[in-house]
């Protein structure tokens, strides 16, 4: 073998070694990266950049789960083979349940059950009311359909009680946005004593013949509370076990005796929600004849609670408020205009009730007057836009065209709802009264501790909670504020965040915005390129010279 051949061979051998080493190194690094990914799938952390921490377990959920006195079991019944979309949702829910578990004191337990694996599992799911349903997802050219089971069961046994169960029977993609609220709301319902809401009846605000339906509706609205319908006629006091009163616009005014009942209730440091406008419906004979097809007329009315509310610094006016932001909104069979009332942030309430609500919708809304309270605070809760005006009753409640203010009308913002908090004075604060035995005694001057009341000059807002999510969230938040339990308020607000776009009125303006962005921006880049090129050429010329 010649020296040349030897050198050639050794070079080839060295090259081979380098090559093998290089390939081995690359393979090792790639394997290392795969391992890092496998480990990171198990050990990971998440941050949430969303403004209202949409995808992070909120502090209130953590607090709720940390205080569980007994084990709470969560079972996720989910098919093994899921369609795309559902799979990601299942993953999200599992991650969230892990977060609940990590935040708990060991009393939160959860498991995944695939019902198709055993008949026993399937029967268990069905026993809880979780049934298989047809899920659909977009495939290449058509909709792919598959029968799946996807539901959640939460069970809890309170001391001295039988097992209580809450069920989310069907889970769909997109539930990620409010799944935390749905879970925490149910956990709270299972584990925390429900406060009692007393709905005052007997004055036509809630017709007797519909009371079962109304109770059902209110119970579905105030899921965290126990709703009780309570006729005030002939009563000398309101039940001690009640926590919050709900008083709506009466058809017949409350008597002085009933006004005192409410006053005494608040003096115990309890709360009340007054949804009272200053109007009364006037029945028209024509209306009766034409089977309710005629729109009703509203005239100024009295609730009988004017003095009481005045004691707390609130007066209710009888003029109907109109706002330039009127919307068409269907009520019953008619389509009419309503003033859309923007709610505002209230710093005094630390924004807990209305932080994200851009607007709530009110019907035949009157407005409030606000005095100055001491030692209590009166905080504005709802106001109109600054372009609102009022219309004197009588008012026919069917607007066929958008109402406009007359030219000489002064436009301004009107107060529609207030929250009052503090040591509230008694209606008969300075008067001597007699008790049942006839003994004279000094009336309680101020409420015990902190009492809270909310006055909204619109009774119908309550009914609009069915169709209007912001109204629902608003009323539920108000109720939680009154109950001094704001655990769910922030979670609820996550769902209600208003992010609607206010587009320009004309199509031409929208087109201009689009063109400025689509064409204008690239054009500027091209222009910058030409400028840079020209500068370079000039510099080159100078150098050549």
């Amino acid at each position: 073998m010649t020296a040349h051949n030897k050198t050639q061979k050794s070079t080839a051998s060295r090259k081979r070694t380098i090559g093998v080493n290089a390939i081995l190194f690359a393979v090792l690094v790639v394997v290392g990266l795969v391992l890092v990914n496998v480990i990171s799938a198990r050990v990971y952390s998440r941050g949430d950049l969303t403004e209202d921490n949409l995808y992070t377990l909120s502090a209130s959920s953590k607090k709720l789960i940390k205080s569980l006195p007994r084990p709470l079991h969560v079972k996720v019944f989910v098919s093994e083979k899921l369609l795309p979309g559902y799979r990601e949702t299942a993953q999200y829910i599992e991650d969230l349940l892990d977060e609940y578990k990590n935040a708990s004191n060991g009393n939160f337990k959860w498991e995944v059950i695939h019902p198709e694996l055993k008949d026993e599992y399937k029967k268990e799911a069905e026993r809880y009311g979780i049934k298989a349903f047809v899920a659909r997802a977009k495939a290449a050219h058509a909709l792919e359909a598959r029968t799946i089971t996807f539901g959640i069961v939460l069970s809890y046994t309170a001391p001295g009680k039988s097992e209580q169960v809450e069920v989310l029977p069907q889970i769909f993609p997109g539930i990620e946005r409010n799944i935390e609220y749905l879970l925490s709301e149910r956990i709270k319902r299972l584990t925390v004593r429900r406060k009692k809401v007393l709905v005052l009846t007997g004055h036509g605000a809630f017709p007797i013949q519909q009371q079962d339906k109304i109770k059902q509706f209110l119970q579905a609205l105030f899921t965290q509370y126990e709703v009780q319908m309570y006729p005030t006629a002939g009563k000398t006091s309101l039940p001690d076990n009640a926590d919050i009163l709900l008083v709506a616009t009466p058809n017949r005014p409350y008597t002085k005796k009933e006004e005192k009942l409410i006053n005494d209730f608040i003096m115990k440091g309890k709360s009340a929600l007054f949804m009272i406008d200053g109007l009364t419906k006037r029945q028209r004979p024509m209306m009766m004849m034409q089977k309710n097809r005629m729109p009703p007329i509203f005239v100024g009315g009295h609730s009988g609670l004017e003095d009481l509310l005045k004691t707390w610094g609130v007066t209710i006016n009888q003029d109907i408020v109109m706002d330039h932001k009127l919307q068409i909104f269907p009520v019953g069979r008619r389509v009419i205009f309503h003033p859309a009332i923007p709610a505002i942030r209230v710093p005094g309430m630390r924004g807990t009730v209305t932080p994200f609500l851009a607007s709530t919708l009110s019907v035949k809304q009157t407005y409030l007057g606000k005095g100055k309270g001491k030692p209590f605070h009166i905080l504005p809760l709802m106001v109109t836009s600054s372009k609102a005006w009022v219309q004197k009753p009588p008012f026919i409640f069917s607007i066929q065209s958008k109402p406009r203010p007359s030219e000489d009308t002064k436009l301004k913002a009107y107060l529609l709802g207030v929250a009052v908090e503090g040591s509230l004075p008694s209606l008969a604060a300075s008067a001597n009264t007699k008790d049942a035995t006839g003994t004279a005694k000094l009336a309680v001057k101020h409420s015990k501790g902190t009492a809270r009341i909310v006055v909204i000059a619109d009774a119908d807002m309550l009914w609009l909670t069915r169709q209007m999510m912001p109204n629902r969230v608003f009323i539920q938040n108000v109720m939680d504020w009154l109950a001094q339990d704001e655990t769910l308020v922030k979670l609820r607000n996550k769902m209600a965040q208003d992010r609607s776009l206010t587009l320009p009125d004309s199509r031409a303006k929208i087109l201009a915005i689009k063109l400025a962005n689509m064409v204008g921006l690239p054009f500027l880049v091209i222009l910058a390129g030409f400028v840079l090129l020209a500068t370079r050429k000039m510099r080159r010329k100078k150098t050549e010279l």
Binding site: A22, G85, Q497
Partner: protein, 240 residues
């Protein structure tokens, strides 16, 4: 590091004095503006939400990334200047990293310009800037991946066109892996694996405003592996 900096400066200068960067930026901005803004403004109930924009924008990055990087190594190989460059006292890593960072700067510039869209939307509604920042981070990381893949394919061939085709095809494949329509055809045992491999799956999380270490580790792994393969491809001259 100074060697990487030298290469970086040289490549960045090349970018801005050639039509490549401008063409890529203009195409990217036009597509993002046209598709993304239309989706937001023409929705049945328009919302101040950039998620539709982030759902469609990554797709164009599968083309823009390889387009920006296709010439970086293949052109030098074709012209024969690569041997000259590698004969200088530079490591292969310095060359690859310098070129990669220059391409990344161009892409970042394009993304910064596209901030005009969220600013426009924010002027008309209550935009969640957290989600927007998350979405842009996602776009940046996804773009960084497509650039790394483009650079890798550029190191494999002397033809820029071929480098672009292979790069764009690889990126599209990685993008399509996470597409529900594609996953539908896979056996369910493999779905999770392929879904994890897909560029879009991770982008989807980040564009919601959720920063998950899993997503960033995935993106950094793709970038690391691609750049390593590009370096190995250059080094192969020593053993081929």
């Amino acid at each position: 590091m100074s060697k990487t900096w030298t290469i970086y400066k040289r490549e960045l200068g090349e970018y801005f004095y050639s039509p490549v960067a401008y063409a890529a930026i203009v195409i990217l901005l036009f597509y993002m503006g046209w598709k993304g803004l239309n989706l937001i403004l023409e929705a049945a109930q328009p919302e101040a939400n950039m998620r539709p924009f982030f759902a469609f924008s990554p797709w164009i990055l599968s083309f823009v990334g390889p387009a920006l990087t296709m010439h970086l190594i293949s052109e030098e190989k074709g012209r024969g200047t690569m041997s000259l460059l590698l004969s200088m006292p530079l490591t292969d890593w310095a060359v690859v990293l310098g070129k990669y960072l220059a391409a990344l700067t161009v892409l970042t510039a394009a993304l910064v310009l596209s901030l005009a869209y969220p600013i426009t939307i924010a002027a008309m509604g209550n935009l969640d800037w957290g989600v927007t920042v998350g979405g842009y981070l996602g776009l940046l990381f996804m773009g960084a991946c497509t650039l790394a893949i483009g650079l890798m394919t550029s190191s494999w061939t002397k033809s820029q066109f071929l480098a672009f085709i292979i790069g764009a095809f690889s990126c599209l494949m990685l993008w399509e892996l996470g597409n529900p329509q594609t996953l539908m055809w896979l056996p369910s045992s493999l779905v999770g694996f392929f879904q994890y491999l897909a560029l879009g799956t991770h982008m989807k999380n980040i564009s919601k405003g959720v920063l998950d270490t899993r997503d960033f580790i995935y993106y950094l792994s793709i970038i690391g592996a691609s750049l390593l393969l590009a370096v190995q491809s250059l080094e192969s001259r020593r053993w081929r």
